[in-house]
């Protein structure tokens, strides 16, 4: 006799199946170390077969997004596979990625002149089966372009991470998730002076078949750590400081 909870879980799984989400067969649902955030995704698993958009409204959010993406890459690239980082105007400082446990020499940086070229490289890279992830820094992304990328992702299963630097060009897309990473004041550890671990306000603005939400996350030496409400100093994210 099935209990109500089991029935509910089964129904949830079925709904995901009908929506086109297939659980990876014979493969352990690999964690990406995001803790509670992963529960927001369908099935409680970070969708690797998906396009993740990171919206950066201000230049300082780009640095925070770079850090968050580097944290994700440290897990995605853990098996030693390479990564392609495409950019039109790259300011990323390669040696800094070591702090996020990323083997920087396994990343191929492709510097292109226009978004068009960047998306071409991204699509080619997503169709290539020897990579752990593809990161692209672009300004705009149209519906058609995001659809093409999504199709490429679904074929090979390499996550595509897009860092979008121009929120003015934001249009509807078919991406699996849309994130926004904003820097937060770091916590002071037992009243010690100095700057603490990097801390961000991680917002999931949109998740396909999931639950959007907002979390406070910290990168502590070699992993993400969720900061509970009590530890967060009184601060609103959207406060405008002139």
């Amino acid at each position: 006799m099935e209990t109500k909870l089991e029935m509910l879980n089964k129904l949830r799984q079925d709904m995901l199946l009908w929506q086109g989400f297939k659980p990876a067969e014979g493969e352990v649902a690999a964690r990406v170390g995001l803790g509670e955030i992963e529960a927001a995704f369908p099935g409680g698993v970070f969708p690797r077969k998906g396009i993740h958009e990171f919206i950066c409204e201000t230049p300082d959010q780009v640095a925070a997004t770079d850090g968050f993406v580097a944290g994700l890459l440290s897990v995605l690239m853990a098996e030693g596979t390479g990564c392609v980082w495409i950019s039109t105007s790259r300011r990323l400082f390669p040696p800094s990625l070591a702090a996020f446990n990323v083997e920087t020499d396994q990343i191929i940086f492709v510097d292109v002149r226009s978004d068009r070229e960047a998306l071409w490289v991204m699509e080619e890279a997503l169709r290539c089966d020897g990579l752990a992830a593809v990161v692209a820094e672009v300004d705009g992304l149209s519906l058609v372009e995001s659809r093409r990328l999504q199709l490429a992702v679904e074929r090979q299963g390499i996550p595509g991470l897009i860092i979008r630097k121009d929120p003015q060009k934001l249009v509807a897309g078919v991406s699996t998730a849309r994130w926004k990473i904003a820097p937060l004041p770091s916590g002071d550890e037992d009243g010690m002076p100095g700057v603490g671990f990097p801390r961000w306000q991680v917002q999931l603005l949109k998740v396909r078949s999931g639950n959007p939400g907002s979390w406070t996350l910290e990168w502590e030496a070699d992993r993400f750590l969720q900061v509970t409400k009590e530890q967060v100093p009184f601060q609103t994210v959207h406060e405008k400081v002139g």
Binding site: V62, G82, P95, L97, A98, P185, V195, E239, G242
Partner: protein, 502 residues
């Protein structure tokens, strides 16, 4: 196999070329003239002007007097050489080794050993070349013989037939004048003075006698014509060992046609490479257009490859650059650089796949083929604290890093390519800033780390050291600031923002 050579003589090289460019000159006598010792000397003569006894070497004023209405055009030094180079490249369709006739600068010498049968015998071969150049507007005379010297002689002075049979060149040369030997004018004059009007009259004289009177060069030229001395030809283009050609029946103009041609060439070339265990590193596809222009596209790979699909994809990215014009009649694929193919070893367990992966390497080939090799970067750590020098570009995708990335000091995720000056309020001597103004915005510093002094490597570049601070402002944005140099009245110091932390 008996070696055979063709000498092509462009009888009126410069004037034919001028008429092709300006057809209205066909009815007008004209000469080319170049300044020499303060006057204009005729350097080349059109056939019509030659009919008026105008010869090269006479002053242009005399030419105008002899032949009224003659048009004098400026000659440019080296123009004949440039023209011959273009014509020679066109002739590569007939024979692989084509060289410019350096003696008179008005002809080409082709080594055609084993080529004539492809065109249906020597007569058909010679006829094809003559009619092709005639169609283009050049008057040519040519001859085929066993030695370059004999071919040159017969093309200029032969009166019987351009085809000198195998072994018959000595007999043919006998009746020709000494000019046919490509020798200097003063030796020619000496020969004439001594009454030698035909080669046969001095051909069999003892060498010591000839050397004493006419010098070593004369003997060399005689030997080269008779075939007793070797004459190496300076090929316009060195034949490449891995080269495939595809002549097409109908000129090709469409993308599909070009694609088919590339596939066919690649299939043959890759099979050859595979047999020898080699792979292509850089290749070039040349299309010979029917208007005698060349179109080329080049590809390169990061590792040697003999995979038809991969190489085809690289060419496919560049097909748009080919301008077929009226059509391409001959395709040529050359492997300029080949390397042994590394056969990947089958590993029982693959702990670190890394970048040395066939599909990744092929991806990078495609990217650098389309965007240029400068677009792709990979970094390895360097033993420098100076931030700009702490990473260097790896030379290849497989180059291993010699040391680990250092994580002991904080480094910003984003580094400005050029530090930007800021205004700062800070306590001396070494306190972090209290606040700073960056791009017109005030930042109140709440938390700070530092200073971390990084000395400039004086053996690489002179300048001030930097004192770096990691600061966090009230909204949580983290910056990497530095002060350049010491505080002091005599020295200048300046604050900069250099990077942004995550």
């Amino acid at each position: 196999m008996q070696r055979r050579y063709i000498s092509i003589w462009f009888v009126h090289l410069l004037s034919d070329w001028q008429v092709i460019r300006r057809p209205e000159l066909k009815e007008v006598p004209f000469v080319f003239a170049a300044p020499d010792h303060g006057r204009m000397l005729v350097t080349a003569v059109s056939p019509l002007a030659a009919g008026h006894d105008v010869v090269p070497g006479m002053p242009a004023a005399d030419a105008k007097a002899i032949c009224p209405g003659v048009e004098v055009l400026d000659d440019k030094a080296g123009r004949a050489g440039k023209l011959l180079k273009g014509l020679g490249e066109y002739c590569i369709r007939y024979a692989p080794i084509v060289s410019i006739d350096e003696f008179s600068m008005d002809g080409l010498i082709l080594e055609v050993t084993g080529c004539a049968h492809l065109w249906g015998g020597e007569l058909a071969y010679v006829k094809e070349i003559v009619s092709r150049f005639k169609g283009k507007g050049y008057t040519v005379r040519l001859a085929i013989a066993d030695t370059p010297g004999a071919a040159w002689a017969v093309s200029r002075f032969g009166k019987v037939t351009p085809l000198v049979a195998v072994g018959a060149h000595v007999e043919t040369l006998q009746v020709l004048p000494p000019e046919a030997l490509r020798i200097e004018a003063h030796i020619l004059a000496k020969l004439k003075k001594l009454g030698f009007y035909q080669i046969r009259s001095f051909m069999n004289m003892p060498r010591s006698v000839l050397r004493r009177r006419f010098g070593e060069n004369f003997l060399l030229r005689l030997g080269q014509a008779l075939g007793t001395e070797d004459e190496p030809l300076q090929a316009l283009r060195q034949p490449v060992p891995f080269r495939e050609r595809l002549a097409v029946l109908e000129p090709i103009k469409t993308k599909t046609g070009i694609e088919i041609a590339i596939t066919r060439l690649l299939e043959v070339l890759c099979k050859r490479l595979q047999h020898e265990g080699l792979g292509l590193r850089s290749g070039i596809l040349t299309g010979y257009r029917i208007d005698s222009k060349l179109v080329q596209i080049a590809i390169g790979t990061n590792v040697a490859s003999h995979s038809v699909e991969h190489l085809f994809k690289l060419f496919q990215l560049k097909i748009e650059q080919i301008k077929p014009g009226l059509g391409i009649e001959l395709f040529e694929l050359e492997a300029l650089k080949v390397n042994p193919v590394e056969v990947p070893q089958e590993a029982l367990w693959n702990s670190k796949p890394g970048l040395n992966n066939k599909s990744v390497l092929e991806l990078i080939d495609r990217v650098s083929g389309k965007l240029g090799p400068a677009a792709v970067h990979r970094y390895i750590p360097e033993a420098h604290y100076w931030p700009e020098r702490s990473a260097s570009q790896a030379r290849s995708l497989t180059e291993l890093r010699l040391r680990d990335w250092s994580t002991d000091k904080p480094r910003p995720t984003e580094l400005l390519p050029r530090p930007e000056a800021i205004q700062v309020m800070a306590l001396i001597p070494d306190h972090p800033p209290k606040f700073f103004i960056y791009k017109g915005e005030h930042h109140q510093v709440v938390k700070a780390d530092g200073p971390e002094r990084i000395e400039r490597e004086w053996w690489l570049d002179p300048g001030e050291h930097r004192d770096y601070y990691r600061v966090e402002d009230a909204t949580g944005r983290r910056y990497w600031l530095y002060r350049s140099g010491h505080y002091g009245a005599s020295q200048s110091f300046q604050w900069f923002v250099h990077g942004f932390f995550a």
